[in-house]
Amino acid sequence: MSILSVENLGKSFGGIRANHDISFTVDQGEILGIIGPNGAGKSTLFDLITGYTRADTGKVTFDGNDITRLRPDKISNLAIGRTFQKLKPFADLTLLENVMIGAFAKETDIKAARDKALEIIDFVDLIEKRHHFARELSTGQRKRLELARAMAIEPKLLLMDEVTGGVDQKTIPGLVELILKMKASGVTIATIEHNINIIMEISDNILALDQGQNIAYGKPKDIQNNEQVIDAYLGRVDVA
């Protein structure tokens, strides 16, 4: 059963078509991987779904609600969480306070919000760093912070924008493990990734974009062998 449905979504900035006629669905409990070269419109697609950018055409339906014209906070309140490509931690707040702000989406009591935040921080394996300021954390830890903060709103759907981007190789397996743990906890995930090995490993389905258009959608194995995706993104191995 699909939890998110995107129909004919389009957005232009002046003469540039950032997204054009994009349609796909995300099933409950799955991980949808989104791939494409830089400038393919992946982050714009997330901005359109979460209300940060207003779509020119098309419709986004989440859990039976038309969310195409809603504000980001209203969309978040429907239980869509997201992280950002350019990290946006509340730098002068501690890790615990960052996640508590997420927890306040559902909790009003300070103690309840604090306890919930601590459980999520424990879930992302950062409990020892709970009193550290966000600005003091490493990039990998700040990625976990953003995931924890988004998890704190109790999302049904979580949109992750390049969670493993910009972190060192040793950090990546832990983040991948965390994404799978989130999926196991019942959260549906759509994730933008540049690391093709990771996307093939974790995704149930993959959406490939190029120049703002949906060029392929399907199982990882099919995408890997799709001619258009190979030409636009994956590249060919020259066997001379």
């Binding site: 504000r71 978040s76 306040f104 306890d115």
Partner: protein, 337 residues
């Protein structure tokens, strides 16, 4: 990790240090007993001005430090408080106690009304808009006959000191305790606010509005809440100051200088920290009052030169304000993070 989680859950929610609590206890005790030592009227006046500006700067700190909106016309709410209570007393004989409450309510309504269109602006644009709003209040009150236009309202003197009329002719001590009471109440309220769900959400809006809205926070709504709370804190100081000098006029009550001075004091002490405004005020008000005494009317602007110099030094050497000179472990716990 399970043990660490259990341990973390048992930690106190607010980890205020013993040093801070002891210091606050000592300070409160000193402030309460201070008049018993029979200080001269000048020192009582000095303390009254410190309390008043500490509250006003804290009001500005709520909108600027807690929610990240720089207001340059905040003095308008001071004037609204002064005029509301004075007008109700002069026209209808309503006790200034009720006048203070009416002033707070009216200031909140004005903040919400102007906040709805203005808080869609951000950064410099919001600051410029508030500056113009502050100036326009002065212009309107200078021409508004019902509230005495340019000559303002003269509060009729009571024959004897009266708690009903909030007039004390023999001593400044009652005024001292009035301002002290509002000072303590305001600081406790702001501390409570900054440690509440609203306080957390305001800091999120201040730090990154996009991340905040991704967590279900309605940005405009929270900016308006901060603006209204800030106005509610500022207005009673206008009412009390009107009772202190027993005259309200547009040049004094809607003076642009009020808005600028509360900004300077907060920046000097440390913006975004609950104790920052108090530190800034405790330094700048004595400079202002002493230069007023030593240089008289002709040297009245000397304090502004001092303000300018200090502010330049702060901007260059201590951008986080004087509070950043205190030990780190004390500041960061008490910061309006």
């Amino acid at each position: 990790m399970e043990n660490l989680l259990t341990h973390a859950k048992q930690e106190p929610v607010w980890n205020t240090s013993k040093e801070i609590i002891s210091l606050l206890g000592l300070l409160s005790f000193f402030l309460i007993v201070f008049p018993l030592f029979g200080p001269s009227p000048f020192y009582l006046h000095l303390m009254i001005m410190i309390f008043m500006y500490a509250v006003m700067s804290q009001s500005w700190n709520v909108i600027a430090g807690l929610s990240g909106q720089i207001s340059l016309g905040h003095g308008a709410f001071f004037g609204i408080g002064a005029y509301t209570s004075s007008f109700l007393y002069v026209q209808y004989g309503v006790t200034p106690w009720l006048g203070i409450l009416a002033g707070m309510l009216f200031a909140a309504l004005v903040a919400i009304s102007i906040g709805i269109p203005m808080l869609r602006l951000s950064g410099h644009y919001f600051a410029i808009a508030t500056l113009l709003i502050g100036i326009s209040f002065q212009v309107v009150f200078q021409r508004w006959e019902m509230v005495g236009a340019a000559s303002g309202l003269w509060i009729p003197l009571t024959e004897e000191s009266s708690w009903f009329a909030l007039q004390f002719h023999d001593s400044k001590v009652p005024y001292y305790y009035l301002f002290l009471g509002f000072f303590i109440l305001s600081y406790l309220s702001v501390w409570r606010l900054s440690t509440s769900k609203i306080g957390f959400r305001l800091r999120a809006v201040r730090d990154d509005y996009q991340a905040a809205s991704s967590l279900g926070i309605a940005i405009s709504k929270y900016k308006i809440i901060a603006f209204a709370i800030s106005a509610v804190i500022m207005a009673p100081m206008g009412s009390l100051f009107a009772q202190y000098i027993l005259i309200v006029d547009p040049d004094r009550m809607f003076n642009l200088e009020i808005s600028i001075i509360v900004l300077l004091m907060t920046v000097l002490g440390g913006i975004g920290n609950i104790w920052g405004p108090l530190i800034g005020v405790a330094i700048l008000i004595p400079i202002s009052e002493y230069t007023r005494i030593y240089f008289g009317g002709t040297g009245g602007a000397i304090d502004l030169i001092f303000y300018g110099l200090i502010l330049m030094l702060i901007c260059v050497f201590r951008p986080a304000g004087l509070i950043s000179l205190l030990p780190k472990h004390l500041i960061e716990r008490e910061k309006q993070r």
